[in-house]
Symmetry: C2
Subunit: 439 residues, 2 copies
């Protein structure tokens, strides 16, 4: 079989695993998924590369040393690319290697493959329960960029803060507007997020005051991860862009709306967003998402030539946000939407990012921008869901919310639903802790 | 003598070196300076840490292995911190170590110290002529932030593009406005810079067109380098901020004004700046700048408490920009100004950057923002010098300039002039090459 046929076989909806939990039709981590992450566990606190399958993690270093996984050596003199703090060195080996690992894992985990299935001692070394593991930030992130590519979101924000009649700025329909984010404060799901302090401009005061953010918000986003960068001065063509993408994560672009409103003119958001960005621990590869490719929205006007691509470049990823108040048993679903609504595609974002000659590097993270759908319950931020606090949300348990309160736990979830299986992202969770005192 | 007395002695204006070129009163690299960089040379292409003295570079790894320099080991099992692609590992050892190296180098290079001076064989191994060396990007830069802290620059820009009567936006006087830059495209002095392509909105056309930037500009800036970071959620107090700074460089924030004007609302500049940022190769330590500390401009209104500091926090650094047209023998000085004009100090910038809880890391680069002085010949950008092209500059050789033309070489220079010695930055050079074709 050719490499491409092998890759195609990993997407076969009828393929089942001997890891039975992976076969549940709504489990995030089917054998069709095989997302990559960095984990450690109580018995082995070394951070290393793992792949999720059902309720378990496959330890790739252990599988490799058992001879069931073959990967080129990293070239830095070390004897495996899988005992690492981050996926970067593995990703840097290139797309053929990612795909080769996917193909090998899909085989080893297939119901009819006995090599690992029937070797209890080896299984004990190679498989770690997710419940017993700690997930870490999967990447060393050299650069983080955030886009603003949902037409519904940009329209809502423009209606609220600028002019409802001309909500979309003229440049918005011509390019995937983006800005540089702060890579240092990207944290992995589960990391508590401290409410930021900053300058607040209150309507009844002439000068700003210093204090804790009063309008703390989420932004429901996905992010994509650069798997193959480009050199300075050498743009990536839109038609080639997807080949540069390793995979996707869920991303919560925490936002301090009051700080943002006062600071953002003319150079964009800064302190309002640099205090934290949370991503999910598992990177779902673009290969695993292939069956869920759908048409992007019609773009009118037709973009300039460098932003054009043939075919379908959106993905059908169901997304939801839940909020659980401190001490509450029940979480409330506050938004349901889909990544397919995004106006600008990831390929267009990457082509635009590099058209000026800007280089990208393995591990760079690119946020989609808030993903809002067309209906009022599909907006990707509390700003939009409560219309800047004017229409508070009623929680099932814990009162009402205009914005986030201390102790609130926000969870993003996302998945592609196949026929009898799911390619899921898991969750992206953050709990807000109270602001610190003045320095 | 105490460590502080030793450090004080390195600043003694009467100290001279046996490296005679260092004693010229206007040489950038006096024995009082001792800036750090990364170099290689034809005989030894390994990148390593060097310190400039006169026309020479001291190879710190060679000096260390000769027993004339004692530094703690890096803790990663390697036997020197000086054979590296970047200064980060050295900087991460902390301020006491930087200062200890400075003190030891100042002694070894002093006119009255025979240890290296009289050992010709050792000198041959330890000293490399700058003319024979290649300088490299001195840092691995995890994050790059650019501020906007010159009142004159912000006023000029506001006058041109917004309202001359209300040129300064209300937030400008309350905080050092900043934005996240793109770290991947920070390059070292001497790297050619390709003119960017992008979207241009021409006044006579309804839609933007794709093409090469027609208003390519410099921004004369300095940058400071984080020597000691802060943890997420733990802001740096303004009074402590300078202790977190390793040193300073010259920085040219190349800007595509036409791309910027079309793209920057509402999220700030992106493609207009991400194609390249050039820094000088030598990092001048804050310790070496100490004698040139001066009072910052009076700040009215008084900043909020988290932005207050006692004492003097500006530095008297003379700055100039020259432009040399392709093939021209003579360069023309197009601007002369001084870093002391900056309204917001580096300490205030860092305090503001972290007040929301944002973490910083060793090697982070923070640009000052364009440094414009009060007079028309002291503006730090062509945008201001030519008033958006309305008043072209006459070059000594090569015609006139509204903005940068292909083949133009732009050079920033900066220095502190002491009594009989100079603490200089050297130069920050970039030549513009023609834009690439469409992808």
């Amino acid at each position: 079989m050719s490499a491409l046929t092998d890759l195609q076989a990993t997407l076969d909806p009828s393929r089942k695993s001997w890891v039975e939990s992976a076969n549940e039709p709504t489990h995030n981590f089917s054998i069709q998924n095989l997302p990559f992450g960095i984990f450690s566990d109580g018995l082995n606190t070394t951070r290393r590369v793992g792949v999720a399958i059902g309720d378990w993690i496959v330890d790739l270093a252990a599988l490799e040393s058992a001879g069931l996984l073959t990967v080129p050596l990293p070239g830095d003199g070390r004897n495996t690319v899988f005992v690492r703090d981050a996926l970067n060195d593995f990703i840097a080996l290139g797309r053929d290697v990612w795909r080769g690992v996917r193909v090998q894992l899909s085989r080893v985990l297939s119901r009819d493959n006995a090599s690992l299935r029937d070797d209890a001692e080896l299984r004990g070394r190679v498989l770690i329960r997710q419940a017993d593991a700690t997930m870490h930030l999967p990447l060393q992130i050299p650069g983080y960029t955030d886009f603003y590519s949902s037409k519904e979101h940009a329209t809502n924000v423009g209606s609220m803060f600028r002019d409802p009649k001309n909500a979309l700025l003229p440049n918005w329909s011509e390019m995937p507007i983006g800005y540089n984010g702060r890579a240092s404060s990207v944290v992995v799901s589960g990391t508590p997020v401290r409410r930021p302090n900053g300058q607040l401009k209150l309507p009844d005061q002439e000068r700003p005051v210093f204090g804790a953010c009063r309008k703390l918000d989420i932004e429901l986003e996905t992010g994509f991860v650069i798997g193959g960068g480009n050199a300075l001065g050498e743009p990536i063509a839109c038609a080639d862009a997807e080949a540069h993408i390793f995979g996707m994560v869920l991303l919560n672009d925490w936002s301090a709306r009051d700080i943002q409103q006062w600071e953002y003119v003319p150079l964009g958001p800064f302190n309002a967003k640099t205090f934290a960005t949370t991503i999910s621990p598992w990177i779902v590869t673009l290969d695993a998402l292939e069956p869920f490719r759908v048409a992007q929205p019609v773009q009118e006007p037709q973009p300039l030539a460098y932003l054009r691509h043939e075919g379908d470049h959106a993905f059908d990823i169901a997304l939801e946000v839940t909020l659980r108040a401190q001490g509450a048993k029940q979480a409330t679903t506050i938004a349901r939407t889909n990544f397919r609504h995004m106006y600008w595609t990831m390929a267009q974002q990457l082509a635009h990012h590099t058209v000026s000659g800007c280089n990208t590097r393995v591990g760079d993270l690119m946020g989609s921008g808030t993903i809002s759908g067309p209906t009022e319950d599909s907006y990707g931020s509390l700003l939009e869901l409560t219309w800047n606090g004017k229409k508070p949300l009623e929680l099932k348990e814990g009162g009402t919310r205009s914005f986030i309160e201390d102790g609130d736990e926000l969870t993003l979830a996302g998945w592609c639903q196949g026929d009898g299986y799911r390619v899921g992202f898991g969750t992206c969770v953050g709990e807000i802790v109270a602001a610190g005192g003045e320095v």
